[in-house]
Amino acid sequence: MSDIIYRGENGQIRVNNLIITDKSGSGEAEVGANPSGSWTAKGFKTEYEAIVTNTFLFRKDSGKTYSNNGAPGVVQANLPSAPGPGVHFTFVRIASQSFRVRPQGSDAIIYSGGQMTDGEWLELASNGAVLSVVSDSNNNWIATIENGTLTEETP
């Protein structure tokens, strides 16, 4: 094993290539503070990807921001099926093409227009439109940020 844990010049404990997970490396884990405190994540970046064709998203993609930059036509981002609470994605429309966010058949989006029909998409219908969603425990995707024009599959 190489030098993955070492001491910084000011006494910090430094770690290369840190994964927070369960023992098997495949399960859930949590980073947090005790109830009277909080912790700051700073200087970090999140993952960004431009998608130009229909794409399936997975739990492991949680935290990503997607755009349709460069898309020649309609692009649909398919959300994972009932992933449990907390999985979240952000979508930004850049190309002047329809950019649709579709939940799976038994899941629905809740946004300022109300609770949508299961399995129906919500489209980012104007350039610069933004939609952020987070999953809950009831097979819903809750819109936490909305900007621009959003259009339902069945208004």
Binding site: N17, E30, N34, S38, V134
Partner: protein, 238 residues
């Protein structure tokens, strides 16, 4: 003059000591230390490793450290705790290496500061595959500091539920609220009535209600001005 023959004499006690020493094998051989049941006080300082009851199988073998239950005061000096690792207690498999060599942690709780960054200060670090905490409640609730960055929803609420923001002793705490129940009244106030929320029009108000399903509010703490709205839709100030 050349001395050709030297005779050295040993006492019976000295011969016995040599015989005892020969029972262990110390040196570069493959069986190095294999016959020593425990090692205490290794090193130039008398107290170094004094707190380690026994050290078994140290070395390049596959069983490295397998028999050590706990490590205390690991480092070159007893005072290492002043700036670094004070006590690393391995009561279970909380630190382990994956097949690809990553450093894995189970159940990490932070008591001081965690800085995540690249190898130098011009690089950044990617947070990926992370979720946010979703809090569901149909009754009044006081939020905690360590629930910062949560999304709060009122699934199945039928009446009024008031969510109280904690006292913003520090800047940068964030909470997002989304009304997901069409019948419940979703109200957000500060825990301390003397504090206010700056709404999306820049006006300080005592509270905010989410008007309809899908309406939302995101606030961030400002340690001098209370709470500031940075994202909202369909809200009413109260």
């Amino acid at each position: 003059m050349v001395q050709e023959n030297i005779t050295v004499s040993f006492t019976s006690t000295q011969i016995a000591e040599f015989n005892d020493f020969a029972q262990g094998t110390i040196g570069p051989a493959s069986t190095l230390f294999s016959d020593i049941p425990s090692v205490n006080k290794i090193g130039p300082a008398a107290t170094l490793f004094a707190d380690i009851a026994s050290v078994n199988k140290i070395g390049p073998a596959a069983t490295l450290f397998t028999d050590i239950v706990s490590l205390n005061k690991l480092g070159p000096a007893a005072g290492l705790s002043a700036s670094g690792l004070e006590s690393l207690l391995l009561t279970s498999d909380i630190i382990h290496c994956s097949e690809s060599g990553q450093f894995n942690l189970d159940n990490l709780e932070l008591y001081d500061s965690l800085v995540l960054r690249g190898n130098n200060q011009s690089e950044t670090l990617v947070l990926k595959m992370f979720k946010v905490k979703v809090i569901e409640s149909v009754v009044d609730r006081i939020l905690l500091l360590n629930e910062s960055n949560s999304v709060c929803i009122n699934n199945d609420a039928g009446g009024l539920s008031t969510w109280s923001l904690p006292t913003p002793d520090i800047a940068g705490l964030t909470y997002t609220f989304v009304k997901t129940s069409s019948s419940g009244v979703f109200r957000i106030k500060t825990k301390d009535d003397s504090l206010t929320i700056v709404n999306s029009s820049g006006v300080s108000v005592s509270g905010i209600e989410l008007d309809s399903i899908g309406s939302k509010l995101s606030v961030i703490s400002d340690d001098s001005n209370g709470w500031v709205t940075y994202n909202s839709k369909n809200i009413t100030s109260i």
